[in-house]
């Protein structure tokens, strides 16, 4: 009981995730700044931002629905924190695991987007509503290739449990190379999930101010920002766990450090991608996802099906 509570609240749960989220936000912002030839923020900037926002007043439009407006960020936060408990961090252990948890993780990662939609929609601001609709429209475009490429990897490992997938790829590290197309697709679609350039369409600053978050302020905004940070860590951790779980070959401490370095590499790749591409329009984004990413993901599925037959 105490162990369960510890893993939910302290490590690798809430507390660890909050700190990791803010640290990786710093890494992302600093890398983004350096790639753009700027100085970038000091290391404590995300913490300072977070604390400052906590101290600010909570404002809500009087036309907004208070229940939905206040609950949406909490739902988003809870679901991304839960994701992390199912990801194997060292050796092949995750805090909780069952057959089929990879499906649950994918759905938990969808909840923040839906929560943003609900929060934005019920805040009744025009910009927030437009942003919410865009967020959901975008969801239907990136979710399919994302699921397909992650499940393709699971298909090769012949298991729907993240832990067993990790064991499989730890035993056959070379097989990770087969999934390189899926890895690229996941990385790109993750940008859509995290609403970062070139897929930051739902919160396109120059068009609709801050999209679903336009009306949020104070503690709720702090929570939303933290949610997005943790979503980034959880997404990157999922990519690592599914596509190159090399950390599992080492002893727990070394393994965990290797895992963190891998997550760091994924976060840096995301920063690089958002530095070098301009924001697309929503129609272009959907075209791109369905015309290019979905066929490529299908190809990955087919490849893994054939490989599975050939390898067994």
């Amino acid at each position: 009981m105490a162990g369960t509570l510890f893993s939910i609240l302290i490590f690798p749960g809430l507390l660890f995730l909050c700190i990791a989220g803010l640290i990786f936000e710093y890494v992302d912002r600093k890398a983004y700044a350096r790639l753009q030839n700027r100085v970038g923020p000091p290391w404590f900037q995300p913490f300072a931002d977070f604390i400052k926002l906590l101290g600010k007043e909570n404002l809500m439009p009087c036309a907004a629905n208070p229940t939905m407006f206040n609950l949406a960020p909490l739902f988003a936060f809870a679901s991304v924190v839960t994701v992390f408990l199912y990801i194997p961090l060292w050796q092949t252990k995750s805090s909780f695991s069952f057959d089929g948890d990879i499906i649950m993780i994918l759905y938990l990662l969808t909840i923040p987007t839906l929560a943003f939609f609900i929060g934005g929609w019920y805040s009744t601001s025009l910009f927030a509503r437009l942003g919410s609709v865009r967020a959901v429209t975008q969801l239907f475009a990136y979710e399919v290739p994302l699921f397909m490429s992650i499940l393709a990897s699971a298909l090769l490992a012949d298991s729907w449990s993240l832990q067993k997938i990790a064991v499989y790829y730890a035993q056959h590290p070379a097989y990770c190379l087969f999934n390189s197309v899926g890895f690229a697709i996941t990385l790109i679609t993750l940008l859509g999930k995290l609403e970062k350039a070139p897929f930051d369409i739902p919160e396109a600053e120059t068009e609709i101010v801050a999209g679903p978050f336009t009306e949020y302020s104070g503690k709720l905004l702090a929570l939303l920002r933290l949610t997005i940070d943790i979503e980034m860590v959880a997404g990157a951790a999922l990519v690592v766990a599914v596509f190159f779980p090399f950390a599992l070959m080492f002893s727990p401490v070394v393994g965990f450090i290797v895992f963190l370095i891998e997550v760091l590499v994924v976060v840096l790749l995301l920063s690089l991608l958002r530095t070098i591409i301009a924001r697309l329009r929503i129609d272009q984004m959907i075209d791109f996802c369905w015309k290019w990413l979905v066929p490529l993901a299908l190809f990955q599925l087919l490849l893994n099906l054939i490989l599975k037959g050939a390898l067994s």
């Binding site: 865009r134 120059t206 068009e207 609709i208 301009a278 924001r279």
Partner: protein, 411 residues
């Protein structure tokens, strides 16, 4: 809140996409723009009237503050008109220095625009890169004039500061670096897929529409209208300098980008020629405080397009009337046309593509009777004037007028 499928969203007067206060009210259906209302006038400062209360030299410094970016453009345009009324022949060295500052200003304005365009399409890396390089030209301007903006270089009958051989060496060095960087930006703007995706086919304005709506500057030139005051009506030293007027036939935002980055290359060449052929001689000629009575219109190719100033003198120390037509006023009409059937996501870049300067544009117009005296015209007089005009052109409104009168009586 919005039961119909069409709703209006306000872009401005305060909005992150806008750098100045202006209002766009967009009727949207989904992501598609169905209608657009533009409202200017949030930043009217009464500069024209204020000029009438100052002497010519003071007015010059006031006019320079019409725009923060093309300040030299407005100052030069104004002073050219004053000098024309006074019948002053400018020393050649002063003409060359004015040209030099004008081109340095064009470089800083176009680099600024490229960065803003990048930001509007969500490509902040381009913004950071171009604005970093823009610092080079800002430093050069500070070196030559003492200021980064509002250079204060002009005075009636010449320029206020000379350029030393050391300055020339510095400028040439800076221009070399900028030319290298600009070549890179030309590559980026014409080859980067996501930029081309966002720019090409967006904000289309055909050649006919340009001529009808009278768009000026790079906006017009990007639709194949080869108009450039520097060539068509040379002022300062442009008559003695060789340069190409860049045109493009893409007719869209992509074309406007290409025109601007290529114009940068022309500016470097103009600066080099200016510095190479910089004549020796005095910087100013003496002009009396009182400018003789008369009026003049002066044209100037500002980075955003043709700038027009009208100055009327009554023989005193102060101008009797100053009229400023900033290039944005000519271009803003075209925005509505450009946004026809486009998406909301195109709105910021299409507005940015005319390189708007709304605060410079804000003027108040009061209509005076077209005859000699300066009374404010009454509605009845204006109406009769219209009827007379149409009758003279063979169009008769008598029947319509009768209907109108009957309608009025019923009310």
């Amino acid at each position: 809140m919005h039961n119909s499928d069409r709703f209006k969203i306000p872009l401005g007067p305060q909005h992150p996409a806008l750098k100045e206060p202006e209002g766009f009210s967009i009727a949207l259906m989904g992501e598609k723009i169905m209608g657009l209302d533009i409202r200017l006038g949030y930043n009217h400062r009464g500069i024209e009237k204020a000029c009438e209360e100052r002497n010519y030299l003071q007015a010059l410094y006031l006019v320079e503050r019409v725009c923060g970016i093309c300040s030299h453009a407005h100052a030069t345009c104004f002073i050219q008109a004053v000098e024309e009324i006074a019948g002053v022949q400018l020393p050649r060295r002063a003409q060359y220095i004015r040209t030099l500052i004008a081109e340095l200003e064009r470089i800083h304005s176009h680099l600024l625009w490229l960065g803003v365009a990048g930001h509007e399409i969500g490509f902040d890396t381009l913004l950071m890169y171009t604005w970093r390089d823009r610092e080079i030209v800002m430093d050069l301007l500070a070196l030559v004039t003492g200021n980064r903006v509002n250079y204060g270089m002009n005075t009636i009958g010449g320029v206020r500061r000379d350029i030393s051989p050391e300055d020339i060496a510095e400028i040439l060095k800076g221009v070399d670096i900028l030319e290298e960087r600009t070549k890179y930006y030309i590559e980026v703007a014409t080859q980067e897929t996501s930029i081309i995706q966002r720019l090409s086919g967006v904000g289309v304005l055909t050649k006919e529409e340009v001529l009808r709506l009278d768009a000026v500057g790079p906006t017009g030139r990007a639709s194949g209208v080869s108009r450039d005051v520097r060539r068509d009506d040379p002022y300062a030293a442009y008559g003695e300098i060789k340069f190409n007027v860049i045109t493009d036939d893409h007719c869209d935002v992509y074309g406007r980008t290409v025109v601007r980055v290529k114009e940068l290359m022309e500016s470097y060449s103009i600066i080099r020629q200016c510095l190479k052929n910089l004549p020796e001689g005095p910087l100013t000629v003496k002009v009396p405080r009182k400018i003789p009575a008369g009026e003049a219109i002066s044209r100037y190719e500002a980075p955003r397009g043709e700038d027009v100033h009208y100055v009327k003198s009554n023989g005193g120390e102060k101008p009797e009337r100053v009229k400023i037509r900033a290039p944005t006023l000519a271009n803003i009409q075209a925005v509505k046309q450009m946004l026809k059937d486009r998406y909301l996501a195109d709105m910021p870049i299409v507005v940015a593509a005319i390189d708007p300067c709304f605060s410079c544009t804000d003027r108040v117009i009061s209509i005076a009777e077209p005859k000699k005296d300066n009374r404010v015209i009454s509605w009845e007089t204006l109406r009769n004037y219209g009827i007379d005009w149409y009758t003279a052109h063979g169009i008769d409104f008598t029947e319509l007028n009768n209907k109108f009168r009957k309608k009025l009586e019923r009310v």
